[in-house]
């Protein structure tokens, strides 16, 4: 027998469901996005957009259990877009408040943590995602693959390359 699937109500109930999801998961997703983007205001923007995207597509979502997976993928996509925009806008001054928030937060961390985070931000997006999902969220390769929308093999190689690059960068940093 087929297991029952929750059919999600449309219209105004979408707002209630998405609000409940926001209350339950937004903070964790902002934390994930902070690791990807490096600053909290941008991370909050990305997460807001992900939830609004879910809200807009609520009627098309037929399984409530998939909402969190959808949100996580949206956040990762949003963070990639941020990096693409930043790359295109190199040379344009960003909002100084973003940097101030980020600098203040990182000033509270020890030197060793700051080095790791700086190295993490220098990784290509896919490697950074794989490393963060595997070692910050402790996801399995299969779970990380689902969140990133790639195969397990891709996660495995991206993680391996990411860790190797991190080790190299941190070794260089230590040698200075």
């Amino acid at each position: 027998m087929e297991s029952p699937t929750e059919t999600l109500p449309a219209g105004l109930d979408a707002r209630r469901h998405v609000s409940a999801l926001y209350q339950a998961h937004a903070l964790a997703l902002v934390k994930l996005a902070v690791l990807m983007t490096g600053d909290q205001p941008t991370a909050e923007d990305v997460v807001q957009d992900a939830f609004l995207g879910l809200y807009r597509r609520w009627q098309a979502l037929h399984d409530a259990d998939k909402a969190l997976g959808y949100l996580r993928s949206s956040v990762l996509n949003g963070c990639r877009s941020v990096h693409r925009v930043r790359f295109r806008r190199q040379g344009i001054t960003l909002d100084p408040q973003d940097h101030a928030d980020s600098a203040e937060a990182e000033a509270l961390l020890g030197e060793a943590h700051r080095e790791v985070l700086a190295a993490l931000r220098r990784l290509p997006s896919r490697q950074r995602e794989a490393v963060v999902l595997r070692y910050y969220l402790d996801m399995t390769e299969a779970q990380a693959a689902q969140a990133m929308g790639v195969s397990k093999g891709t996660v495995k190689s991206a993680t391996s390359r990411g860790l190797a690059a991190l080790a190299r960068m941190l070794k260089e940093e230590d040698a200075r």
């Binding site: 449309a10 219209g11 105004l12 979408a14 707002r15 209630r16 998405v18 609000s19 926001y22 209350q23 339950a24 937004a26 903070l27 902002v30 934390k31 994930l32 902070v34 690791l35 909290q40 205001p41 991370a43 909050e44 997460v47 807001q48 939830f51 609004l52 809200y55 807009r56 597509r57 609520w58 009627q59 098309a60 408040q97 101030a100 937060a105 990182e106 509270l108 961390l109 020890g110 060793a112 943590h113 700051r114 790791v116 985070l117 993490l120 490393v131 963060v132 070692y135 910050y136 860790l163 991190l166 080790a167 941190l170």
Partner: protein, 427 residues
């Protein structure tokens, strides 16, 4: 330590610094599915354009052939034209659901009744105050975080019609751990006045008035007064009705003066402080702009408080709303002490003009001005009436007061009266 462990430690250390996030900002309506709209667009757009051109041509022909338009369709009613003089957008606090104690912020349009956006607090947050600038687009929403007991402020900018009509940004103002009694954004949106009170016992309260720069979050000026029992925790109306006057040079605030002795009494005043002048003593550096009139008893059982609630216009005129009540159950009071909105001079304290008087019956009435134009002549008001024959609920009426008339604002959708009392409605 392995590289994996270093990543774990660093990422977890960084994310522990993320404690508060801003609330979710919903757009007004659930939009149609984008993909389907795009498919329609490819062949629908040319057909639509052709239909539009045909319709326009038909309308032009009909207009040329038509008789003179009917008078009623051309001249708007006086109430309608007056409604055009008030801000279109407002932010109101409302309960997140029927059982919850959290307040969300609803951005509304009083012309159409449309909800522009809803800002939902996260689990540990709660909104408890809102204020607006004169441009009808800039607001500040005050937020309390239960886990840290801190009050913080968010800038809310409206861009009606945009895909994302609201932008919420945390202001770089240092949070306070205190009871915030008053909040007022200057009409030009550059400065934020906040009055708050700290107290650990009933007698050691300290009241602060601070003016912050909206752009940098820096404190531009602070005034302090140390209280005794007159500043008891949660007591009095000190700091209520905080508002900017005199071209953003001064700030008015409500202040209760208690007199002790054998027959202790209190006097409600409006004090005015020049924010451009030096000084740091809240009471010594401010002056009484107006003593609010005391409660009167036209009969042995009916009472009228002429200035139960007040709001100050930016020219200094004080707009008061009366509270009418009786100490006898189910006694008709409005025929004896009708609720009214009256203006007073903020310079001399003299009564200037009765803006509107309610001529109807009620058991109890509370007239609350919630917004006024710079001259105190157009007022958005809230009339709370307890009426005869209505067993449980009261009738809440929002309206615009102008030229002696009360024009209902049915499209101003504000739910909870308590939220308004707590500064939960701003235009």
């Amino acid at each position: 330590m392995s590289i994996e462990d270093r990543v774990r430690a660093a990422t977890r250390a960084r994310t522990t610094l993320v404690r508060d996030i801003r609330p979710l900002e919903f757009p007004d309506e659930l939009p149609a599915r984008v993909r389907r709209a795009r498919r329609w667009l490819t062949w629908g757009a040319p057909i639509g354009a052709a239909a539009l051109v045909t319709a326009l041509a038909l309308i032009l022909v009909m207009l040329r052939q038509a008789d003179d338009p009917q008078p009623g369709s051309v001249t708007p009613a006086s109430g309608a034209s007056a409604i055009g003089s008030i801000p279109r957008y407002y932010v109101a606090l409302a309960q997140t659901d029927s059982t919850g104690s959290q307040l969300k912020a609803v951005v509304g349009d009083d012309r159409t009744g449309r909800t522009v956006a809803v800002l939902n607090p996260s689990l540990s947050q709660n909104f408890y105050g809102v204020t607006g600038a004169a441009d009808d687009r800039t607001f500040v929403v005050m937020n309390y975080t239960g886990t840290t007991k801190q009050t913080t402020w968010y800038l809310l900018r409206l861009t009606p019609g945009a895909a994302r009509p609201t932008q919420l940004t945390k202001l770089p103002i240092k949070p306070v751990v205190a009871h915030v009694a008053g909040l007022a954004l200057s009409p030009d949106g550059r400065e934020l006045a906040v009055m708050w009170r700290t107290a650990t016992t009933q007698t050691n309260a300290v009241t602060y008035l601070a003016v912050y720069s909206m752009s940098s979050g820096a404190v531009l000026h602070t005034w302090i007064t140390k209280g005794d029992n007159i500043n008891a925790i949660g007591g009095g109306a000190n700091g209520e009705a905080l508002s900017w006057v005199d071209g953003d040079r001064s700030v008015d605030f409500g202040w209760v003066v208690f007199s002790g002795g054998a027959h202790p009494s209190s006097t409600n005043t409006v004090r005015r402080i020049d924010v451009t002048a030096p000084g740091s003593d809240l009471l010594a550096d401010s002056r009484v702009a107006m003593r609010l009139p005391r409660t009167v008893m036209p009969t042995k059982t009916t009472f009228s408080r002429p200035c139960g609630r007040e709001v100050t216009a930016s020219d200094g005129t004080v707009v008061c709303g009366t509270t009418s009540f009786s100490d006898v159950s189910f006694q008709e009071v409005c025929s004896t002490v009708p609720p009214a909105f009256v203006t007073y001079s903020g310079t001399t304290g003299k009564r200037l003009k009765v803006l509107y008087t309610y001529h109807g019956q009620c058991l109890e009435a509370q007239a609350t001005p919630v917004w006024t134009d710079p001259a105190g002549s157009h007022v958005i008001a809230f009339l709370l009436l307890s009426e005869k024959g209505v067993k449980t609920s009261a009738t809440d009426k929002f309206g615009l007061i102008a030229d002696g008339h009360f024009t209902p604002l049915p499209k101003l959708v504000v739910g909870d009266g308590d939220a308004i009392d707590q500064g939960g409605l701003a235009f």
